[in-house]
Symmetry: C2
Subunit: 109 residues, 2 copies
DNA sequence: GCATTATTTAAGTTGACACTTAATTAAGTA
DNA sequence: TACTTAATTAAGTGTCAACTTAAATAATGC
């Protein structure tokens, strides 16, 4: 799933779509009106986002409202934090500092 | 830059490479030994990662040591958190709850 | 200088994917 | 039923990126 999610956000227009639906649901055509590509192209992007678990659809008559699915970002968030994490980084630096002090005191012998 | 960074981590082998160099530097060939693709292919992936600011190179003789560049993940981290952020989410929910209460008291008039 | 090792650059191939237009599905309404 | 609106699916095209092998660069040792 994380593969699909990362693939999905790798496309700039899909990130734009995510920003558009971040604070409220929008229909496919409302989303499409923000872009200069065709409605089918938007529909295809929405499908990718949905299959990646990053958006959800709510059907109402002939309209389909797309909204963000926050949990879908959890795995990516964890991945990124495994590389860039405040607490882990500080722990590592503290360990290195400790190591350095050890070596210094050894050299003084 | 964030475009390049996201593009870079979208490729599964590049994520594998990042995991490999996460806890210490490795040479191009040491990295390549973990994969069944050619050395040039790895070199090309490393170039993409470097241009995205996710790894750094240290040259030593004929060898080149690749290591992770943690700051490179900062922008992606921020992007993801703009969609999935504990504190922001709670703020938004609190605001919505507040809004709901307002409407209720209006309806009672 | 020549050989060796480590790695990259060059050039070409292939498959995926982001589009397009045309056709189709689906729901509501006169 | 036929019409309209909203959106998707189908089919085809062009571009790009992930690979390949072969050639080139770069540093080191004899």
């Amino acid at each position: 799933m994380i593969d699909k999610a990362i693939q999905a956000i790798a496309e700039p227009r899909r990130r734009d779509i995510l920003h558009l639906v971040r604070d409220g649901e929008l229909t496919s055509s409302a989303i499409a009106s923000h872009f200069d590509i065709s409605a089918p192209a938007i529909s295809q992007h929405l499908k990718v986002l949905e299959e990646a678990g990053l958006v959800v659809v709510r059907r109402a008559g002939t309209k389909r409202f797309y909204g963000i699915r926050r949990e879908g970002f959890f795995e990516i968030k964890q991945l990124i934090e495994s590389f860039w994490d405040d607490s882990l980084l500080r722990l590592k630096e503290a360990a290195e500092e400790e190591e350095r002090r050890k070596h210094e005191s050894n050299q003084q012998k």
